[in-house]
């Protein structure tokens, strides 16, 4: 059979394709629907948080940081409770990372604050002696792209039914709603949220930029980091 296949490239190619496609079909398909169900308390990202997530991706923080806490005592002691599949239901793309040059950030919002990030991102080694994390000073002047963040929120709401403007059950039995209005309204809202963060950052330059109606990347990034819980 094999020597016949080697003389018949078409069937050879079909054979190869079937053999390699098989594993994907068996392994990936059955789990699909189930893994995408959110756990109680998982909320979609706000527009400002999404803009921060885009900054995180733009500067590939995931090259050095994971967002996946494995179920070992050493990890839960260090980072908090281990990750559940449903917590990632609104993560497009997932940002688990593959290398922990820096610590896991899955729940960094629980133990780091806005002003801590404001200092740390500017000059990590000044906050944590011996840090090899790059300084990200350009984020303090580059302006975040709120339009694209809104575009993404609107897209996932329309295409994937991500529950914006919907009551979402929380762990304590109450509910919460993440609103998604039109672009203009969302821009205003993002600017208001940014002003609060800028104030907590205790940096005059950032406050000045925000008061001009622009949102520096660092502000969006911190909004995102604070949402990681």
């Amino acid at each position: 059979m094999f020597s016949w296949l080697e003389k018949n490239p078409f069937f050879f190619a079909v054979g190869v394709f079937l053999v390699i496609a098989f594993a994907g079909l068996v392994e990936i398909l059955p789990n699909f629907a189930q893994a995408s169900r959110p756990v109680v308390g998982t909320k979609p990202y706000t527009v400002l948080e999404l803009a921060g997530r885009h900054v995180y991706i733009k500067d590939s923080c995931n090259a050095c940081h994971s967002q996946l806490i494995r179920p070992f005592k050493a990890e839960t002691d260090r980072y908090g409770s281990y990750s559940l599949s449903g917590e990632y239901a609104y993560d497009r793309p997932f940002l688990w990372g593959s290398k922990r040059t820096g610590p896991d950030l899955m729940r960094v919002g629980n133990y780091r604050t806005t002003d801590w990030h404001a200092n740390h991102m500017w000059e990590p080694a000044k906050t944590v002696a011996g840090s090899i994390m790059p300084a990200y000073k350009h984020m303090y002047t580059n302006v975040a792209d709120i339009d694209t963040a809104w575009a993404e929120a609107e897209t996932v709401r329309k295409v994937f039914n991500v529950p914006y403007n919907t009551e979402i059950p929380l762990q304590d039995g109450t509910t919460a709603v993440v609103e998604l209005k039109d672009l203009a309204a969302e821009k205003t809202k993002a600017l208001e949220e940014a002003a609060v963060i800028a104030k907590d950052m205790k940096r005059k330059d950032i406050e000045a930029i925000v008061s001009e109606g622009k949102i520096p990347e660092i502000v969006a990034l911190i909004a995102y980091l604070n949402s990681l819980k």
Binding site: N31, A35, W150, V156
Partner: protein, 487 residues
């Protein structure tokens, strides 16, 4: 052979030069980011454009899609014509297609480099490019496929040689993986706002991770394994004048590899939130994968049976024999890391880049370099410029690889042990930063290893450049096996 075919190497040559160019650029960035891990101030020499995190995707894309894929295409346009006994000269259409393939590739790689540098990224490893570039990639890839099947359609040699099996598999495998992993929705077209090139993944969270590592792992299969095996099956027998040791073994390892490889992707997700059975499958199949991998490697090493003096005499054979050896080493190390308890320690540590690099530097890099050395004299009708230079390059690069993986072993295991260490009361012994500062010496050794490898690569580029520009002319017909080399 009477009536020798006149092969056309113009496209093979173009791809060879892009192999060398991307090799230099990709490895230079690699060395830079290696030094940044030891000396973080290097991050801030050029504002946002020289940070580790901006450069890292440029490094991986540069060496994978630039260096390795150029090498794959260069060897295809060389080997394909020869083993199928057809010439691109015979068909203006196939010739045009091959040129079209190269130029779409050149354009898309240029756009890729610029956009990644600007930070336009989907974040998915080795699939960072945004959708417009993905579309270009599809066009480029399809033109390669047409070229493969077109040449096969015209062939005079009825039976497909082993290398051709592997090129076909590489084409099909990457096509399937790429399409599914890059399913994304352009946000501008749905919402009418924001950047037109931005997109959002079709999959969320755990699903996205599953698809990504099915892709990520198998991109290694169909980019770093399958086409490189295609190369060694052609170049080693050709250069040594030895027949492939066992046809049965090639058959067994080919179909074995095709079947087993795809299951092993789950080992990237051990102890993550994907279902347990998938993690276990990933683990088990990774171990089974040793069989077909070693099958190919042993087949290659045994091809040299009775002719081991050639290893000492011919640096090209040295490169290929060491490449097979690193392939065996790497395909043993991988499965070990896939064992659950080992993975618990190794995952997320520097041992992983260590493993990647004994495969890529030792196996992929050496094989591509050997292939270039074999092809250049035949494409340009010149003898290789300097054998001595090749010999010293071999040793410099080998020492580079050894420094790289040994330092990363130690770094990775140290890191893994420190993360989990607890004192007598059960609380964590080390703060995270302790585990970082501890690694400084290993990061430095790794960077030095990388520098040595890059130095060796520059020597190869110089050697090839001198071969083309100022070496002695030799008739192609007199280059049956051992490549002629100047002192």
């Amino acid at each position: 052979m009477e009536n020798r075919l006149e092969y056309d190497y113009s496209v093979a040559k173009l791809f060879m030069w892009s192999t060398l160019l991307f090799g230099i650029v990709g490895m230079l960035i690699g060395v830079t980011i290696a030094f940044q891990m030891a000396f973080p101030s290097w991050n801030n020499w050029l504002g946002e454009y020289l940070t580790f995190s901006r450069l890292r995707p440029l490094h991986t894309s540069g060496v994978i899609f630039g260096f390795t894929f150029s090498g794959i295409f260069a060897t295809w346009y060389y080997v394909g014509q020869r083993v199928l006994k057809v010439s691109l000269k015979e068909s203006p259409f196939m010739m045009g297609l091959a040129k079209f393939h190269f130029w779409t590739y050149a354009v898309l790689m240029t756009v890729a480099v610029v956009t990644l540098w600007m930070g336009v990224s989907t974040s998915k490893e080795y699939a960072e490019l945004e959708w417009p570039i993905d579309l270009l990639i599809v066009v480029m890839w399809v033109s390669w496929g047409l070229s493969i099947f077109g040449l096969i359609g015209m062939r005079r040699e009825q039976s497909l040689y082993i290398s051709v099996w592997y090129y076909i598999a590489s084409f099909l495998g990457i096509a399937m993986l790429f399409v599914f992993n890059n399913m994304e929705v352009p946000t501008y077209f749905v919402s009418g706002a924001g950047a037109w090139y931005h997109s959002v993944s079709m999959y969320a969270g755990t699903n996205d991770a599953l698809v990504q590592w099915w892709y990520g792992h198998n991109a290694v299969a169909f980019g770093f394994t399958v086409p490189i095996v295609a190369m060694i099956y052609y170049f080693l027998p050709k250069e040594s004048g030895q027949a492939v040791y066992s046809y049965k073994l090639s058959l067994l390892s080919f179909w074995g590899l095709m079947f087993v490889y795809l299951w092993a992707g789950g080992h990237h997700l051990i102890y993550s939130t994907v279902p347990d059975w998938m993690q276990t499958m990933g683990s088990v199949f990774s171990v089974v994968l040793i069989l077909p991998s070693w099958g190919s490697a042993i087949n290659m090493l045994l091809t040299m049976k009775g002719e081991w003096q050639q290893v000492a005499a011919n640096p090209l054979i040295k490169f290929m024999v060491l490449a097979s050896t690193f392939y065996m080493f790497s395909t043993l190390e991988g499965p070990i890391q896939a064992i659950k308890s080992v993975n618990a320690l190794a995952h997320f540590t520097d041992w992983i880049p260590g493993h990647v690099h004994d495969g890529t530097l030792g196996w992929v890099g050496f094989m591509i370099i050997a292939a270039m050395f074999h092809m250049v004299p035949r494409m340009y009708g010149k003898e290789l410029y300097s054998k001595k230079l090749m010999e010293s390059q071999f040793w410099i690069q080998t020492i580079g690889v050894v420094l790289y993986f040994s330092s990363m072993w130690i770094a990775g295991i140290t890191q893994g042990m420190m993360w989990r260490a607890t004192d007598e009361f059960g609380s964590l012994t080390y703060s995270f930063i302790d585990t970082v500062t501890n690694l400084f010496p290993y990061y430095l050794i790794r960077a030095i290893g990388g520098t040595l490898y890059l130095t060796g690569f520059l020597m190869a580029v110089w050697n090839i450049y001198k071969t083309v520009t100022s070496s002695k002319a030799v008739a192609e017909s007199s280059m049956q096996n051992t490549t002629p080399m100047g002192a």
